[in-house]
């Protein structure tokens, strides 16, 4: 009951969803859309678990006065503020122009944009560390990355040659690499799904 029934549910719903894909009739189209809503709705309810987990971890840091517990207070204040602002006026709470959205635009957005911008620095340091001609493989990685980056550097007449080489790399070996990886992913992902559906892989369900 605790384990066998869920495994059976996975099997039945999985097989049904596979078959559904080949039936264009609208009754099955309806079932597909309904099933996708199941996933969304279950996910929405689970959000409460997430909020509880975040709160519990933060509160316990504060309670035990763990190092940096003061910062956890900020997390809790941020969370409580946004939850209150996001709920107290009904669905108007999240409209543009509310304090809720002001906080989003002026606290969340600059932080996420700056985190994203850190990549400009990290891509440089990663290139410095990784692109050493140690082995054949790392040399190939290094040389192709250089050729592609050199597109933007004026090299006089060499630029023309580099341009041709760069667009050849992008359209021939790069294309081949992508296709092969995609095919591999397709087979691997399908096999993983089948292992779940047929109950061969069931660790995610927990034991006991």
């Amino acid at each position: 009951m605790r384990r066998q029934l869920p495994i059976l549910i996975v099997f039945v719903s999985g097989v049904f969803m596979i078959i559904q894909y080949f039936i264009p009739h609208e009754s099955f189209e309806f079932i597909y859309e309904y099933a996708m809503d199941w996933i969304i709705i279950i996910g929405i309810f689970a959000m409460l678990l997430g909020l509880w987990s975040l709160t519990r971890v933060s509160v316990s840091k504060v309670q035990t006065k763990a190092p940096g517990w003061g910062f956890s207070v900020m997390t809790l204040i941020g969370l409580a503020t946004m939850l209150f602002l996001g709920i107290y006026k009904g669905n108007k709470s999240i409209a543009e122009g509310t304090l809720f959205m002001d906080i989003f635009w002026n606290i969340y957005t600059p932080i996420q944009a700056t985190m994203f911008a850190l990549l400009a620095f990290y891509i440089a340091s990663a290139a410095y560390r990784a692109f050493r001609a140690r082995t054949v493989m790392s040399t190939i990685l290094l040389v192709t990355a250089l050729v592609i980056m050199l597109r933007l550097i004026p090299l006089g007449p060499l630029s023309g040659i580099n341009q041709t080489l760069a667009s050849w790399i992008l359209t021939v070996p790069n294309m081949a690499a992508k296709r092969a990886i995609w095919i591999g992913i397709g087979l691997g992902a399908t096999a993983t799904c089948l292992k779940i559906i047929f109950g061969i892989e069931r660790a995610y369900m927990g034991k006991d």
Binding site: A120, F121, A124, A127, Y128, R129, R132, L150, L152, P154
Partner: protein, 272 residues
């Protein structure tokens, strides 16, 4: 630790500092780095240069504000080049969210050169079903656009007198950020044998090079780089040149650090 070993294990904060300098300084103090002009950009430039005053070029502005950063500089440079040579322009905007943006651009640039709507240029604006619009314009501009963007019948615009379709323009330059570009190639060039050149975003560039090789288009401006080359050719550097200069320096910094790391690697290996 020898000097070369130290080159291999630089504190990454030096790299961060170099990138910061490479980006911040040029933003505050604009400058320009030399640019290599690729032949596919030069051929577009030469095409406009060799057009005689009074002749017409068709400019298709087929992108929306999302692609402005890369494509606006191209449209600006081409319009400026044409107006300064007294070349007339027919302009369309077939991307759904683009016409307003295109209108702003046209009124801005035409003011700079004191050009008059209906006399020196015609702005057709937007109509849905871009495939049909492009095909129909091959018959007559008046099929999809009985009036221009401002509601004036094309027949009452002096510039459109005797101008019927693609046969009456020197060529088409399509600046596009999406799949409309394909229709210009397949319909305007494929069916009506019009000369077509493209301006496309950086990510689209590699996909459209085959059309250059097959001769279906006579030139391509690809992304910010193509735009900056064009600005350089028209001797009026703007946003593309600025952005591209920063990019060039930043790329040089990355490449320099890769080289430093490898020099350190090879030299310290040699010593052992």
């Amino acid at each position: 630790m020898t000097f070369y070993e130290r080159l291999m294990q630089l504190d990454r904060r030096w790299i961060y500092l170099a990138i910061a300098i490479a980006v911040i300084i040029p933003v505050l103090l604009p400058f320009k780095v030399p640019v290599y002009i690729t032949p596919e950009v030069r051929s577009v430039y030469n095409f406009v240069e060799n057009t005689q005053p009074g002749e017409i070029i068709f400019l298709a502005i087929d992108y929306d504000p999302n692609a402005m950063a890369e494509l606006h500089p191209m449209a600006k440079s081409i319009m400026r080049q044409a107006f300064s040579k007294n070349i007339k322009l027919i302009i369309s905007a077939l991307s759904q969210n683009g016409p307003g943006m295109a209108e702003q651009l046209i009124s801005q640039i035409s003011k700079e050169y004191n050009k008059k709507n209906g006399v020196d240029y015609v702005y057709l604006g937007y109509k849905p079903y871009f495939g049909i619009v492009i095909l129909a314009m091959g018959q007559n501009y008046r099929i999809p656009f009985p009036t221009d963007y401002y509601g004036t019948p094309l027949d009452s615009l002096p510039m459109m007198d005797g101008v019927r379709n693609y046969d009456d323009v020197k060529g088409i330059i399509d600046i596009g950020g999406g799949n409309i570009t394909e229709y210009w190639i397949n319909y305007a060039n494929g069916r009506y044998k019009a000369k077509v050149a493209l301006g496309v975003t950086g990510v689209m560039t590699a996909d459209y090079y085959p059309f250059l090789q097959s001769g279906q288009v006579f030139g391509i401006l690809g992304g910010l780089k193509g735009a900056s080359e064009y600005e350089r050719l028209t001797k009026r550097e703007g946003e593309a040149t600025e952005g591209m200069s920063i990019q060039t320096v930043a790329h040089l910094v990355v490449i320099a650090f890769i080289l430093i790391g490898n020099i350190g690697f090879f030299m310290s290996k040699k010593k052992k």
